[in-house]
């Protein structure tokens, strides 16, 4: 394992902040391919940081016990936005910017933009493949899933199938995606998966272990690690096209109390949860499934306003056009 500082910058008090990368690879030969894992672009998304911990710990052991298993190079960037992670915030504190919105062209000159660009250059120059770990925002709990921007599925779905996730969601390109790490690496012809799991500020060990097993499987299938005795049964993910994903949003305001369980099949019309008015003691709305399917997103943060997302389903049957 070679720890390496990718970018350093000083704070106003004189201390330094470092973005670190851990590199593992074959000892006496050229790596066949290079893959990079990135976590912590959003400082409150701890699940990915923990996943990197699992990965580094495993690779450290493997390097001692079976150094010949390394055919390719693995770079792990476990905490790329150290100040945001240190303050548990999504945004880069002090500058109030989203590190995953600073890439691509047209960013304003700033320290975060410079640091992000330097980090990006490092990832881009040391990867043939990449995986960017994210957790959900404050509001929603997500089943382990891979999100792929429409148009890239041909290249990314075969890779994503190895990752032991529950869902691969192909979605249209949102307008601000063009400034993200995943989009920009893919633009540079470095196939990059964006894995989303859990919720911010928490660790779901069962989700992280599931993805960790998937990552080992991916490393084996991509020829980076030789792990012939890999015995994990990898689940086959549900492939969801844009029109197969249904979003349920609150129509009223109050506290959302879930009834359904994440990761279960719900039937059309089944109650996903209730919205209650805590002052009046009334249930003001019951949110029901718009179709039958797998519940892969479920609201955790109870406070809702009209329009607030509550759940997402992969529908078993596509809606009539």
């Amino acid at each position: 394992m070679t720890p390496q500082t990718v970018v350093t910058y000083q704070t106003p008090l004189g201390g330094s902040i470092k973005i670190v990368k851990q590199t593992f690879g074959p000892q006496n030969r050229k790596p066949v391919r290079r893959i990079s894992f990135v976590a912590g672009l959003h400082g409150n998304e701890i699940e990915g940081i923990y996943l990197c911990h699992l990965l580094i710990a495993h690779l450290k052991r493997l390097q001692q016990t079976r150094p010949d298993a390394f055919r390719g190079q693995v770079n792990v960037y476990p905490a790329v936005n150290p100040q945001a992670i240190g303050s548990g915030s999504r945004l880069w504190p002090f500058f109030s910017v989203d590190m995953n919105r600073l890439l691509g062209d047209g960013t304003e000159p700033s320290l975060p933009a410079e640091v992000s660009h330097a980090f990006f250059r490092d990832v881009a120059s040391s990867s043939d493949l990449a995986v960017d770990f994210h957790a959900s925002n404050m509001h929603l709990l997500e089943l382990p899933q891979i999100r792929i921007v429409e148009g890239l599925e041909g290249r990314l779905v075969p890779m994503a199938r190895h990752c032991n996730v529950d869902v691969i969601w192909i979605h249209p390109l949102g307008r601000v995606f063009e400034t993200t790490l995943g989009y920009n690496l893919n633009q540079k012809k470095i196939p990059t998966l964006v894995i989303e799991t859990g919720i911010c500020l928490r660790i779901h060990p069962e989700f992280c272990e599931q993805i960790f097993n998937g990552i080992l499987n991916l490393l084996h299938h991509e020829g980076i690690l030789d792990l012939p005795d890999l015995a994990y049964p990898v689940r086959s993910p549900l492939l969801a096209l844009p029109f197969q994903v249904a979003l349920c949003a609150a129509r009223t305001t109050g506290l959302f109390v879930k009834r359904a369980r994440l990761g279960t099949q719900v039937k059309e019309g089944e109650a996903i949860g209730d919205i209650v008015d805590p002052r009046a003691g009334d249930t003001v709305e019951t949110v029901t499934a718009p179709g039958s399917g797998l519940l892969f997103t479920l609201r955790e943060h109870p406070l809702v306003h009209p329009g607030a997302p509550v759940a997402r389903l992969v529908l078993n049957e596509s809606p009539a056009p």
């Binding site: 109030s96 700033s110 660009h117 601000v176 805590p278």
Partner: protein, 322 residues
């Protein structure tokens, strides 16, 4: 006229209500839309909107003896990000969305997106569009226009407002979700008036900006007066290659020596940088060349390699500094 354009129930209080104030003669062809408070801390703009509403109320009141006559419609959207304004923050912590990165908005989205949608829906057919904003976080700006087009109409708007500086921005993925860009897509001559500092209300600055707003209404013929005719000044346009950020090498406390709007000479001192612990002078950033100081650092704490000033220079620089 005060019109409620969106009402959203809130979990533990009165509904959240977004208002539009419009003033119009019986018949009109043109509409000027003025949007302020896209961020909860853009207080100069919010205050100016209130002053303009008060002025137009008086001018258009029945039995008014105001010498002004309103010829076209003016619609004002003050304090658009009302959640953030009430929370005392720039963006609303509950959804964490920057309203000026949420356009054209969505009726089905989070609150901020619904508010953005309402603004978009009420403004995309305007004749003129004007946004009042403060400097980006940490900075103080000399009053200037920001536009995406260097057209005759943008020049007319800037000149009417009495602004000598107009920065022409290139489009980018982030800018495409800003209100100004959405207006541009609808070919609405529009600009953002940037001035002052977020979180502060500068009354002297607002007095001068208010005179600019009235002058703009006269210049565009939206308003007329028997004696006063609008005045049109000169506007200098600057593109991104004419912007020179001045960065510091060290971190610490930056103490400015000049104010935004100063015409800087080469080598002129911008301020001092001192260490936080012991107050040692570590750096004296200077203007690298002649130019107008459009932005100066107002929040004193700086990180090394951050810009503390932005100069606008006359000639075209060949390379962008990235």
């Amino acid at each position: 006229m005060k019109e409620k354009i969106l009402s959203l129930p809130s979990p533990l209080g009165d509904p959240l209500e977004l208002y539009k104030f419009s003033f119009a003669p019986a018949r009109y062809d043109d509409t000027l839309s003025l949007v302020t408070g896209l961020h909860g801390d853009e207080l100069n703009g919010i205050y100016l909107a209130g002053r303009l509403i008060q002025f137009l109320k008086t001018a258009t009141a029945a039995r008014s003896n105001s010498p002004y006559q309103l010829n076209q419609r003016v619609q004002i959207f003050p304090a658009v990000q009302l959640n953030a304004l009430q929370a005392g923050t720039r963006i609303w912590p509950q959804d964490g969305l920057d309203m000026d990165l949420s356009f054209p908005g969505s009726d089905e989205g989070d609150l901020t997106e619904q508010l953005a949608r309402a603004i978009y829906r009420h403004t995309f057919e305007s004749t003129w569009g004007l946004i009042l904003a403060s400097a980006p976080e940490h900075f103080e700006d000399a009053p200037h226009a920001v536009c995406l087009n260097r057209g005759r109409n943008e020049k007319k708007l800037a000149a009417g407002l009495g602004l000598e500086i107009a920065r022409v921005r290139e489009t980018s993925p982030l800018r495409r979700v800003q209100l100004l860009h959405q207006w541009m897509e609808h070919e609405i001559p529009s600009l953002t008036l940037c001035a002052g500092r977020a979180g502060q209300l500068d009354q002297a600055l607002c007095d001068s900006l208010f005179r600019g707003l009235l002058n703009l209404l006269l210049v565009t013929g939206i308003l007329s007066h028997p004696e006063q005719k609008g005045k049109k000044g000169e506007v200098n346009f600057f593109n991104s290659r004419q912007e020179v950020p001045v960065k510091v090498q060290n971190g610490g406390l930056f103490l400015p020596a000049v104010t935004a709007g100063t015409r800087m000479k080469p080598g002129q001192k911008l301020g001092e940088l001192r260490t936080i612990y012991e107050g040692d002078l570590v750096e004296v950033p200077e203007a690298p060349e002649e130019g107008i100081l459009v932005s100066i650092r107002a929040a004193p704490v700086v990180y090394p390699s951050e810009p503390v000033a932005i100069l606008l220079v006359e000639h075209k620089r060949r390379f962008w500094f990235f």
